[in-house]
Symmetry: C2
DNA sequence: TATAATTGGTTTGAATTCGAGATAAAAAGG
DNA sequence: CCTTTTTATCTCGAATTCAAACCAATTATA
């Protein structure tokens, strides 16, 4: 139990954790992107569809908050998905500032098809971890990312 | 100890780990970006400078591999840093295809100033984890990201 | 109610990244 | 030597993202 300048030791460790976190996320995201590309979607598009698939109709700015995209980017993504006819906009009757987005039948069918496949692909990616390790990782990573006090 | 369809359980867990990993990395990167922005740099630029600072002169394509950027992006980043006079190119005398990049005096001074600050900022970000938790996180995340067999 | 501030969404412009060639040099094979 | 292949860098265009400016609608405040 040495107590020799714990701060300096920890700084190196923090930097290492930073790098490792980046690397892992980059690698995992690359795999996920690859998987999703097979359906002609990118990660942002899939994230939006997944949210609508699992949570139903949502105001656009709510979607943006959930998938961590700027409102200006939301317009872009929603436009693209609307053009592909996977979702559609719907004006809110109560608040005329608000626009909802919801899956079309076509979008719903797509997600019914590809969401389970995506889930399986994710499971494959993390197959190197046991159930317990996954749980531990989730706990630690959550804690690591929770220095920001929102959500 | 239920054994009811372990695969399904694990798929949900994997997806959750995926999301958590993304969230954490995004949050951490945001903080890092903020920190680095104070010096008029973005993350890619800082990563390049940091590499040169710690490892010395490097061929451009080597830098690209280390910081995970496409070679086409490297030209762009190196150009910008050269314009800011933080680094300079140097032709390799032996192999006329390769170009080295190295810190200028100005770039060296900058890094001597800001690298320790950055390191401290990283330590602050992960202050919510104990030393042991950081070590455990590093181990688990490394394992999670190691399904790709390179590096 | 009139006015100010906030909110939701879009438009616009810039930054960043990548992939697909183009070029040029070096290495390999005959 | 003379291909052929590989390697390193750069150019170009497309995709994606954000920030800033903006409009319209709503909410708060005087």
């Amino acid at each position: 139990m040495e107590k020799t300048d714990p701060k300096e030791l920890d700084e190196g460790l923090a930097l290492k954790l930073f790098v490792v976190l980046n690397r892992a996320q980059e690698a995992v995201q690359k795999q996920a992107t690859q998987d999703i590309k097979r359906y002609g979607l990118n990660l942002s598009e899939f994230a939006v569809l997944e949210l609508l698939y699992n949570k139903g109709e949502q105001p656009i700015q709510m979607i943006g908050k959930k998938v961590l995209l700027a409102s200006s980017s939301m317009t872009y993504v929603i436009d693209k998905l609307a053009k592909k006819e996977y979702l559609a906009r719907r004006a809110c009757p109560n608040d005329r500032r608000v626009t909802y987005a919801h899956l079309t039948d076509q979008g719903m069918e797509l997600m019914k098809d590809i969401f389970p496949q995506h889930q399986t692909a994710m499971a494959t990616i993390f197959a190197s971890l046991t159930k317990e390790e996954k749980e531990m990782a989730i706990t630690l990573i959550k804690k690591a990312g929770s220095f920001v006090d929102e959500q």
